[in-house]
């Protein structure tokens, strides 16, 4: 069964450093998402991406964050200058279209645990 994959599974970085989290969505999916889950808290939406541009973003997704689909398979989240509060599990998800044109169910990857020291 097709799966969303994410690399790395764990990342430790120093405050102020740039990190890039990578995701390979399910191959025929057209919508891509990033969510984060700070330890012990809710899963929160960050951004959605469709047709090579941001479709929707939350207030969390400020100028420190960017997303890119550099090729036909990868989808990345970049944090330019990490802060302590960026420590979280970051989940990538992807979805397809339904026949009605609406989005299908979002399927999640296993997550990247980011620790900012």
């Amino acid at each position: 069964e097709p799966e969303v994959t994410q690399t790395p599974s764990h990342q430790v970085t120093q405050m102020g450093q740039e990190v890039i989290l990578r995701c390979v969505p399910i191959s025929n999916h057209l919508y891509f998402y990033w969510y984060r889950q700070i330890l012990g808290q809710k899963v929160e939406f960050l951004v959605s991406f469709y047709n090579n541009e941001i479709s929707e973003k939350s207030e969390i997704f400020d100028d420190q964050f960017s997303v890119e689909r550099p090729d036909g398979s990868n989808f990345t989240l970049k944090i330019r200058s990490t802060k302590l509060e960026d420590s979280a599990m970051y989940f990538c998800a992807s979805s397809d279209f339904m026949a009605s044109g609406l989005q299908e169910t979002q399927y999640f990857g296993p997550g990247t645990r980011l620790l900012v020291l």
Binding site: K42, S48, E56, A93, Q106, F108, G109
Partner: protein, 114 residues
């Protein structure tokens, strides 16, 4: 703004028994989708079941079923014949028909005892 509430931080069930996890939500919209996701200790979010608000029939997936009460804005998950592998964090989630984002509840940790 839409919100999702899971009032049970923890639940436990004996193996082979049935357990129901509660979820309520608040919205002024009539067209939306509801989901239950499972997050085992491995941390991967796995879709358990999905319900479209326009469908009156409750969704069922094998041992998992929902009780969708649209007027009451309630969306509970029933797990029948519980198995040890069902032990996980369960998240209820809402998505409006005209937005991309899922809105999650705080989760319910389910323990399954042999």
């Amino acid at each position: 703004a839409q919100t999702v509430t899971q009032s049970q931080p923890e639940m436990s069930v004996q193996e082979a028994e049935t357990v129901t996890l509660s979820c309520t939500y608040d919205t002024s919209e009539s067209d939306y989708y509801l989901f239950w996701y499972k997050q085992p200790p491995s941390r991967q979010m796995i879709l358990v079941i999905r319900q479209e608000a326009y469908k009156q029939q409750n969704a069922t997936e094998n041992r998992f079923s929902v009780n969708f009460q649209k007027a009451a804005k309630s969306f509970s998950l029933k797990i029948s014949d519980s198995q040890l592998g069902d032990a996980a964090m369960y998240f209820c989630a809402y998505r409006s028909h005209n937005t991309d984002k899922l809105i999650f509840g705080t989760g319910t940790r389910l323990q399954v005892f042999p």
